[in-house]
Point group: C2
Chain length 517, copies 2
Amino acid sequence: MLLMCGLLSLLITPEAHMIIERPTRQSPDDYRNQRALLTRQEADQAFGSSILLTANETIVNKQLRKLKINELAKGYFNPYSFSPARHFFEVLDEINASPLFEFIRAMPKGAVLHAHDTALASTEVIVNATYFPDLWQRGNFTDGHDPEFLFSRAKPTTGGAGWEPVSTVRNRTGADRYDEQIRRLFSLFDEDPLHAYRSINDVWNRFSRIFLALDPIVTYKPVWEYYFREALREFYEDNVMYLEFRGLLPSLYDLDGNTYKPEEVVEIYRTITDEFKATHPGFAGTKFIYAPIRNADDQTLDQYLKLAERLHRQYGDYVVGFDLVGQEDGSRTLLSMVPKLLNLPDSINFVFHAGETNWQGMPSDENLFDAVMLGTKRIGHGYALLKHPVLLKMVKERDICVEINPVSNQVLKLVADYRNHPAAILFTSNFPLVVSSDDPSFWCAAPLSHDFYMAFLGMTGADQDLRVLKQLALNSLRYSLMNEQDKRVAEAIFDHSWNDFINAKVAQILASKRNEV
Amino acid sequence: MLLMCGLLSLLITPEAHMIIERPTRQSPDDYRNQRALLTRQEADQAFGSSILLTANETIVNKQLRKLKINELAKGYFNPYSFSPARHFFEVLDEINASPLFEFIRAMPKGAVLHAHDTALASTEVIVNATYFPDLWQRGNFTDGHDPEFLFSRAKPTTGGAGWEPVSTVRNRTGADRYDEQIRRLFSLFDEDPLHAYRSINDVWNRFSRIFLALDPIVTYKPVWEYYFREALREFYEDNVMYLEFRGLLPSLYDLDGNTYKPEEVVEIYRTITDEFKATHPGFAGTKFIYAPIRNADDQTLDQYLKLAERLHRQYGDYVVGFDLVGQEDGSRTLLSMVPKLLNLPDSINFVFHAGETNWQGMPSDENLFDAVMLGTKRIGHGYALLKHPVLLKMVKERDICVEINPVSNQVLKLVADYRNHPAAILFTSNFPLVVSSDDPSFWCAAPLSHDFYMAFLGMTGADQDLRVLKQLALNSLRYSLMNEQDKRVAEAIFDHSWNDFINAKVAQILASKRNEV
């Protein structure tokens, strides 16, 4: 029982001044034993501590611990060299060259439960999309405005004059230079991020601009399909086996003037997922969370909710949840929508973004109360949760999973040093957490590995090890919205990939030891 | 009982998946009532919530809340304008012009329990000290080395040639320019702090250089006395009524070749304090914590401990505690000193610095275990405490006060945005906290007001109010090491100043309302 008691259960105790007995009569040996007991107690309640490692896992763990301690020791004496203390954009190359990162990348990581549909695939996929025929452009990259794009058989007439085929602009500019401009436009990457983005609002503004410029490229049906297929490939290659992603279900278009409504977009997702599963062993599929924009007026919101009900009835096995997206600070609150949300059928799962903010006590922060009270199954971000002791208790009791997105939170200016991320405190207890990647495309991150790296190196203690990583992977399946049967299948797939990974690692370690001898 | 239960007492509950009942059958009114209950529960367990405000305090609180909400609302829509989200050096002028800061500055704040003797007084006091006669200088401010200083009747012979009277250098340089160089040398202030200090080590290095250059100026007995007297004046003017400060007790010198040993330094502190008390009504005095450098070899440490015992026997009513100072990362650990520390008499109070680090699981972080096990009465900083759930529980149970130093922690690169300071989470519960200032001189901060400002605006919620500030002041007396009798006297003095402050504020508010009518 002692091992299960948590950080601040302390507050249950009375406030009386207790007499502090100094252990002066203790021998140094007794002292060390007592101390070992305390450190053991903390280790035994940490995230992942209930996992018992097999003999082979223990061998692999030894290697992993060495990789972690190497990076910690380097940082301890030269803190500026420690990646989690720096901005992600400044250290991306260093991370990609890190043996710890390589380990994490190769490791089966389970599922991504928090990511947005048009920020899944790498920038290269977007660059490739701009090579699709019939893409037009208006405006260039250099002035204050971003260029506009549109797929069209003939020169577009919307928005006025100035449209040129992208192929023409690319030829004139030089393909390398043009593609580099595309990469710049569609990511937040900047060499001097601390000056480029001074506050969360700067990033959200840039963010909205990316979505706006990207929209007419990706909502072109052939690109939409290509993009999603490529995204699945990249997630799969990053050793992610299942994806539960959020999207707005925008209307798609093609060259013949057809538009495709939300139901058809869902069908596309399902079809491509099935095709991908059939050709990629060990991939367990995708599910969709319908997540329209939170900053909607009542009438628009009603339309969203009607669509949510329709999708739930028609595609309940695939459209598994409802959420609302967009910056919480300064936007419409969950509270203001409560009467409408209460009217939705119980069987629609809520998986609300809530508390993606640092403004304690302000309206965005209070979304956490409503997410929990409305019975959310998981919380997106929940960055502010630790500042709400009563809610935190409810979240643990109700086993509501918190979807942590480390890199996203840093890029969006909630925290500078991952060691100060509130989830670092949650990792000291066996809290229902998963690590996810939110919009990996926009910060040039891998589908999941960079977030795992930052969580593991920056947000857990020196002694936390393979058990943390395995627990994160297991949680990502446990807290998914798959039905129980699919979940069992996915867990079996994971066990298999995991054991393959461990066995291959052990073989590699033993081989290199043999070479040493 | 519910109101007393804390952040993570949740971990006591079993892990089983509970069924989440969505309150669909609730009317929006019932929902709002339930929600109000939850927000109320959180408010009722927050820091300061047990204080009941008088009618007059309530009037003043209304004004204070308005001042706080004004700054929060401005920041909510323009986060870059929010001081606690920025580096202290960038926003110092803005804070000094803030009406909220003005309120805090005028308010009786109780005691400072964590500050270091040669970083108490403002840079202006150091500038004045360089006007004392017989001060010599070697080297200038422009090359890589800092200049050296020494008081001496004749030209010093130590360290080689190049000594000149400071008055000569000042005349040659121009007094304004010279004094500005002195200000630069003896503070960490920099217009571009994010580039000047890239990591905690950069700051600690600069820090050590300041101490080194400052030492021969302040250890000149007439300056030492002047400096301490001026420090008391500045603390008093910042509405601090009592000071429990740490120091190394270096040997002092004078022009006649005399040196003054630690006992004599203690006598100086006592004498000046008594003089100051006699002439400054409402000032309750000072006490001293002997705190030598932690990075000492065994032999040196033995000397420190012998001195600690001697001072305890001889000046037990004034030298009230023992601590060790210096950067914890990479330095000698408390654990390595345990056998020696266990041998000290029980009656010497430990008030250890511990966990002033972001390196979870590294040796500096583990100092927290030893501080608590050795029976420390307070913890200096305890920045890493929240990552130690078992220790956190012990700290609360044993009512060990945590001395938070917000500005120090930011300047020393532990945290960039005060809202991510771990104490922001402790403030959501009634945890034994005090706010202090560490080395206000080196960052051009007021003796205590800037730290109160950052704690109040950056580390507590929008709804936390005058009760937080009053609780901090009350705690600073409660957790001091004064004997019970002195404590009662100090508390009575505080009550008096507090009521004067409240009554004056109420009169002011009523007068301005009358003017409006």
